[in-house]
């Protein structure tokens, strides 16, 4: 790939998604865009670049989509989900008992596994959540990922990464060599295409936010901006989960750490310093 073309693509990706590509990632661009070349019956990467330079909107969306990392798993890393089940969920039940409602945002939800993991936890929680309205919203910049999440049909590999076998048998149906999530769990999660660099206010307020392993490929300024937006839509006692290898120290003062090993943070609001966080262990 010509250096000028790489610079052009890198700038476009940075502007559209916040993704930062260093000069040594030319191979990554070519690897991820080749399926697009075949799908659109183009002659090569140069046709993609030409289309991008001509401002073709659908092609630009497809390129951004193709370049996004989509790696995810059910109950990814396990322990943060145990933290949600054993600490945050009981706190939600105790502290939201009057309205019996809470909302969870999965920011950068990819193909839906983490959002559905939370839904499974809630379904498994049983009678304590009977009568509650618990809403899970999953957003991602990738239209293809959102479509996959909505379909809720996963490969044998997908369902074995992180999902305990008993939960697989209980909440999925085998369809040929794939596994389809049961409708009751699917119905607990709503997905929509959304760019985290855009205003998040239209999504409403959230008690719990997952943004795990999403900002790792962004520069400091983009991370700061997205975290500011997430803080603004978080409840005063809200919880933020990030990846365990993406500490927010020195990145954003909007959140303060609760458990660094699990990537658990809570909202920092000076005026609400006495507010008990949903992430605090009882």
């Amino acid at each position: 790939m010509h250096p000028d073309d790489f610079e052009f693509v890198a700038r476009l990706l940075k502007d559209r998604s916040g993704l930062v590509l260093t000069r040594d990632k030319g191979y990554l661009v070519e690897n991820r865009l080749m399926p697009l070349v075949r799908q659109r019956r183009m002659k090569g990467i140069n046709d993609v670049i030409a289309g991008l330079r001509a401002g073709e909107a659908s092609l630009t969306d497809s390129v951004v989509d193709a370049m996004m990392a989509k790696d995810t798993a059910f109950f990814r890393d396990w322990k943060p989900f145990e933290h949600f089940r054993t600490v945050v969920l009981p706190n939600l039940i105790a502290q939201r008992g009057t309205k019996k409602t809470f909302r969870v945002l999965c920011a950068g939800v990819s193909t839906g596994q983490e959002a559905y993991s939370l839904a499974i936890i809630m379904r498994e929680y049983g009678r304590a959540l009977a009568g509650w309205k618990a809403e899970i919203v999953g957003v991602d910049i990738s239209a293809a990922s959102i479509a996959t999440a909505q379909l809720a049909l996963y490969s044998q590999f997908d369902v074995q990464r992180g999902l305990p076998i008993r939960l697989l048998l209980k909440h999925f149906k085998k369809r040929d060599e794939s596994w389809s999530l049961n409708g009751d769990i699917q119905g607990m999660v709503g997905f929509m295409r959304w760019n985290l660099m855009d205003d998040l206010f239209p999504l409403g307020r959230f008690d719990v936010i997952l943004c795990r392993n999403v900002l790792v490929y962004n520069d400091l300024q983009t991370k700061f901006n997205v975290l500011q937006k997430l803080a603004r839509v978080a409840a005063d006692d809200g919880v933020l989960y990030v990846g365990r290898n993406e500490p927010l120290t020195g990145v954003s003062s909007s959140f303060k750490v609760v458990n660094p090993d699990l990537g658990v943070y809570t909202v920092t609001r000076a005026e609400k310093a006495t507010t008990r966080s949903l992430a605090d262990a009882t």
Partner: protein, 122 residues
């Protein structure tokens, strides 16, 4: 170091699984059927046993049944690892006392996540 017993009649599968478990901090030991695995378990009870279903001499279910009767055998983590991927078969293994189930083919990420779920690794 925790011991992992890999029970499979395929030498290739045993080698692949041994490499994965070694990288995850286990001391892998291999057995080509359930009977040899039971003999090995009598000498030193494994912390984790990864067991194929169909094997000559003694299959995985018989091994599981025998293992649970050995002193300390009730605490061993048994993961079935087999090409059987139909729901009734999976349920049968769980009903017989298997702790987890892996459908072949598998990779290190699947093994890692299963061991994390079971609390066998951090």
């Amino acid at each position: 170091m925790k011991k992992c017993l890999i029970v499979d009649d395929s030498r290739i599968i045993r080698r692949v699984a041994s490499k994965i478990f070694h990288e995850l901090g286990f001391e892998p030991e291999e057995a080509e059927n359930g009977k040899k695995a039971l003999d090995a378990s009598r000498i030193r009870m494994p912390d984790v046993a990864v067991v194929d279903w169909d094997m000559p001499v003694m299959d995985g279910l018989k091994f599981l049944e025998g293992l649970r009767k050995l002193p300390g055998g009730e605490n061993a983590i048994v993961i079935f690892c087999t090409a059987e991927n139909e729901v009734p078969k999976i349920q049968e293994a769980l009903d017989a006392g298997a702790n987890e189930y892996i459908m072949k083919p598998f990779d290190s990420e699947i093994v890692r996540s299963k061991l994390t779920i079971l609390g066998a690794i951090d």
